[in-house]
């Protein structure tokens, strides 16, 4: 197709400041088949208004823009995006091919030099990366050999498979393994001349060139309008505080079948508003596309404003494995309690003792799906049995389990006693950010009372909560379930293995893995050990089938062992969409990983119908 020059840059082109569109695009642009995916072909133009709650959330545009070397499509398959093509030899050797003629948003060519610069001058520079290249590039501690045969080819090669390589590149917050070298070299001590560099240092009021380089080189933060980008929109506001404008990237690599360069929408206007006001502003019709900052409890008010605000409220499903999950801390510092919580019967009893139906009704209008923590139905590893395992409301069975453990003594109020005579008070700590959690716990307090267990709720600051969990001071914590509720066989299973302290049920086991044994404790619970082994097997496995089998077993183990007590999943997430905005899917999943929120739905294909 012959690319058509749009109105937005026309003036610049006519003035000679910008080459015509045909010269701006790579010689082989990416032409998505919109029709095939049931989408309309759009017309360019318009300003999309959206809101974030903190100024630093401008980075959301990198997430929504979702231009990645490789990215997920709506079926969660990894496909080349910025790359023209990709060869993957058994997850060991990856040959990345760039689009010839692809340019950064400032018009400079995007070539393998940008990859080399990052690999040699950033990732392997001691000043800039004191700890060396990031972890996902290491396979059992070994770094890949990276070669740059020509301007458009980059080859990453390991001795053993690195199955997470592509998956990481497709993440919402990807590791940018390339940098605009032409721009950054001016700040790099190896390239820049000393005088200009020290001048720049003085101007930026930083004390070392590394600091300056680090600061300017924020592909993800997206807060530097001068930093060239490959995303569909580029930041146009310098030092913004409450409003950020993003304009279309004239060198963007995607074009619709009609030859209209994407994105359709010319300008994205991002306003920073207080979290409490997002719903009010949406209700007043002040946004065109909004999901962030909206909760299900806002739905009623959003529905109410639809007519006057000229928007529609869609309800998407949330992509986390569990909307609310309670993590009994298997590494809790108190010996007796730790032993108790490590008893699977105890966790099962707790899970059985929760009336999920009421929680669902009260918090989500009955629209979420009740069930323990497991993967979502979209995932190939979903099994109804897992979802319902130990997730019915069955006080009798729960009590039987507890009695079976020998926790039969009770105090005056009917609270069970631990063997040493302490009453069973479970302190559940929360981040205190979500009202749903509080309300749900309120219901669980009543439910667990019937088990003879007293729940105390304690809200904390997010960071404080984390620190307490990691050090084993927290007895139990509430958080979301796994961020990624839709794992596929290629998804790294480290979040289901005892490998991450961020899984609040086993912070110390996670530390042990993360620090290669320097901190924390090795997992010593059979099920956890099994998970550990399985995860190792996964990374050694060569075939998709093998990995899928491993995944399935891990998911099953989780369901049986109830490491985290999930309450609900697939909770409805309101998405406000202007009536003029097209191509926004009616039903979809609102997920950070995989999916990058709006990212997989390709916001650059959304357009305004006048």
């Amino acid at each position: 197709v012959e690319p058509i020059e749009g109105d937005f840059w026309l003036q610049e082109v006519n003035a000679g400041n910008l080459p015509p569109v045909s010269e701006r695009m790579p010689s082989i642009p990416l032409v998505p088949d919109l029709k095939l995916r049931g989408r309309e072909l759009g017309t360019p133009g318009g300003t999309l208004r959206t809101m974030v709650t903190r100024a630093k959330d401008v980075r959301q545009m990198v997430v929504y823009g979702y231009a990645r070397l490789v990215g997920y499509n709506e079926r969660y398959e990894i496909v080349p995006d910025i790359l023209e093509s990709l060869e993957n030899e058994n997850d060991i050797k990856f040959t990345l091919r760039l689009r010839p003629g692809h340019k950064w948003s400032d018009g400079n060519p995007f070539t393998s030099e940008d990859f080399r610069y990052w690999w040699e001058d950033v990732a392997n520079n001691e000043m800039l990366s004191p700890a060396g290249p990031i972890d996902f590039l290491r396979v059992e501690g070994e770094l890949p050999t990276v070669t740059f045969p020509d301007a458009h080819t980059v080859i990453y090669e390991w001795h053993k498979p690195n199955p997470v390589f592509l998956q990481k590149l497709a993440e919402a917050r990807p590791p940018f393994i390339y940098r605009p070298s032409h721009f950054l070299k001016a700040l790099h001590a190896d390239y820049a001349d000393e005088e200009t560099l020290s001048e720049a240092l003085y101007e930026a009021r930083v004390r070392s060139w590394a600091a300056l380089h680090n600061r300017s080189d924020n592909m993800y933060k997206f807060d530097n309008p001068d930093l060239p980008t490959l995303q569909p929109w580029m930041l146009a506001t310098k030092d913004g505080k409450s409003r950020f404008l993003f304009v279309r990237n004239p060198y963007y690599h995607r074009v619709d079948p009609n030859g209209v360069q994407l994105p359709y929408i010319d300008v994205v206007e991002m306003q920073v508003v207080a979290p409490g006001l997002v719903a009010a502003k949406a209700n007043a019709g002040e946004v065109d596309l909004q999901a962030r900052g909206l909760d299900f409890k806002d739905t009623a008010i959003l529905k109410k404003g639809e007519n006057s605000g000229k928007y529609t409220t869609l309800l998407w499903g949330n992509g986390t494995a569990s909307q609310i999950a309670i993590y009994p801390n298997l590494n809790y510092n108190d010996d007796l309690w730790r032993e108790t919580m490590r008893d699977v019967r105890f966790r099962r009893a707790l899970s059985l003792g929760i009336n999920r139906k009421i929680i669902n009704k009260g918090l989500y209008f009955g629209l979420a799906k009740q069930g323990g923590m497991t993967v979502l139905p979209v995932s190939p590893f979903y099994r109804e049995k897992n979802s319902q395992a130990w997730a019915d409301y069955d006080i009798e069975q729960a009590n039987a389990l507890l009695d079976d453990m020998g926790l039969t003594e009770r105090d005056k109020e009917g609270t069970r006693l631990l063997p040493d005579g302490r009453p069973m008070w479970i302190v559940v700590e929360t981040a205190g950010e979500r009202q749903e959690v509080e309300n749900a716990l309120q219901i669980i307090i009543d439910n667990w009372k019937d088990l003879g267990i007293k729940l105390l709720m304690r809200p904390l600051e997010r960071d404080i909560l984390r620190n307490r969990v990691y050090s084993g001071e927290t007895m139990a914590a509430v958080w979301f379930g796994w961020d990624n509720g839709i794992p596929h066989s290629y998804t790294s299973p480290d979040f289901v293995a005892p490998w991450q302290q961020e899984f609040f049920a086993w912070p110390k086991w996670g530390q042990y893995h993360q620090t290669s044994g320097d901190a924390g404790e090795p997992p010593d619970l059979a099920a956890a050990v099994r998970l550990n082994d399985l995860a190792h097997e996964w990374s050694q496995a060569y075939s998709t089938v093998d990995r899928a089998v491993i995944w399935q077993e891990m998911i099953d183990i989780h369901a049986e062992n109830v490491f985290a007590i999930g309450l609900l999943n697939n909770a409805p997430q309101p998405v406000v969409v202007s009536n003029r905005l097209r191509n926004v899917p009616e039903k979809a999943i609102w997920a950070w990983s995989p999916g990058a929120h709006f990212g997989v739905y390709r916001v650059d294909e959304f357009f305004f119908d006048e």
Binding site: L456, L460, E461
Partner: protein, 383 residues
């Protein structure tokens, strides 16, 4: 009366020369507090407010008895139920207090709960009836309530909230905390503020300098980070009420400098008054001068300040819970309830969840009018 020929006017009435011949005044034998009461009684609004407050405080132990439900009792089929009217007449006939039964319906158009009244059958309220168990005055377990919902219906005088809890009952229970715990903080802050402020203002000099520096440092110290630090430091097994209690004491301890400065500055000028010098010349000790001469002349400000601190204390927890320090379920207080109501839906759709504002306003007004009446009664110029 006589008008003399020279234009003089002369009174004919007999005149008395001895003084003190009047009848002994009944007021004389009364104690000061009785005199105060006599005068306080004349301030009608103040009197009503005082009675209201008295009744409120006295009924605190009986909150459980008066309310039809317990505070955390969830009626799962009645989420966000609107307030129900208690009626007396049905079809023109007197049936005694009754309500209509309601059924909830999920409205998937508007995503809100709709309630349909069954206007056919009046359902009479029960009185002195068995309900869920609670502890009268905090220790006597009982099940008797003043009134309860009829079988198969509900009695939500002020509606129910997101979890189907009765707002009316919760307000009553909330009063137990809101009306008491916060006052502790005020007391602490007043005691410290007055003592240190008067010392600084009366003695002046070095003491004044020291106290002023302490005030300055305390005042320039931020509270916010302190709260954040505290929220991490409080032991986890403490109940929410205990936490809040400690917090309000700390709040009080931090709050005194403002008052102390006001006291100090007023005392700086008051101590120059002649009557203060007179008292000193009589040999009055500083404590007496401060307590008997200076403070009473500053009472109005103190009373006004105290009444004003009350809403701050009741609402203080809403701000604190923003930082994860306020009261938390299962404790109920007005602040907790309002905290739950802080979203648009509570204003626009489920307006009754914002009702706890009312008791706060009423109590605060009552305290204000009570204070005003007290001030009036103490004001010598109004006798």
């Amino acid at each position: 009366m006589t008008i003399l020929p020279d234009g003089r006017y002369v009174d004919d009435a007999p005149y008395e020369t001895d003084t003190g011949a009047e009848a002994r005044n009944a007021e004389l034998d009364m104690s000061n507090s009785r005199l105060l009461w006599l005068r306080f009684k004349q301030h009608k609004l103040g009197l009503i407010s005082a009675l209201f407050l008295l009744v409120s405080y006295l009924s605190l132990p009986f909150a459980g008895f008066i309310s039809p439900y317990t505070p955390n009792e969830r009626l799962e089929d009645y989420l966000y139920a609107p307030p129900q009217l208690v009626r007396l007449f049905h079809d023109g006939e007197f049936v005694g207090p009754y309500v209509y039964g309601t059924t909830a319906e999920m409205d998937l158009e508007s995503f809100s709960w709709k309630y349909i009244q069954d206007r056919e059958t009046p359902m009479k309220l029960k009185f002195f009836c068995e309900g869920s168990e609670y502890k009268l005055s905090g220790f006597i377990p009982t099940k008797t309530h003043l009134f309860c919902a009829p079988e198969g219906a509900t009695v939500f005088l002020l509606g129910s909230d997101r979890l189907g809890r009765d707002v009316f009952s919760r307000i009553l229970y909330g009063a137990q905390l809101s009306l008491t715990v916060g006052l502790v903080g005020i007391t602490v802050s007043f005691v410290i503020g007055i003592i240190l402020g008067s010392i600084a203002g009366y003695f002046g000099g070095f003491l004044d300098w020291i106290i002023n520096r302490v005030i300055e440092i305390l005042r320039s110290l931020p509270e916010l980070p302190l709260w954040l630090a505290l929220s991490a430091a409080v032991p986890s097994h403490w109940g929410p009420v205990a936490v809040f209690f400690i917090i309000s004491i700390i709040l009080g301890i931090l709050d005194w400098p403002g008052l102390a400065r006001a006291v100090r500055s007023k005392f700086l000028s008051l101590r120059e008054e002649e009557f203060v010098r007179a008292a000193e010349m009589m040999g009055a000790k500083p404590s007496r001068v401060i307590g008997k001469h200076l403070l009473p002349n500053f009472l109005s400000h103190l009373i006004a300040s105290a009444t004003l601190s009350i809403p701050a204390m009741i609402l203080g927890e809403t701000a604190l819970s923003f930082l994860g320090l306020g009261l938390r379920a299962p404790a109920v207080s007005w602040g907790v309830m309002l905290n739950d109501a802080q979203n648009l839906a509570s204003i626009e759709i489920y307006w009754w969840t914002a009702i706890p504002m009312l008791p706060i306003v009423i109590v605060v007004l009552a305290f204000n009018f009570f204070g005003d009446g007290l001030r009036d009664a103490l004001d010598p110029n109004r006798s």
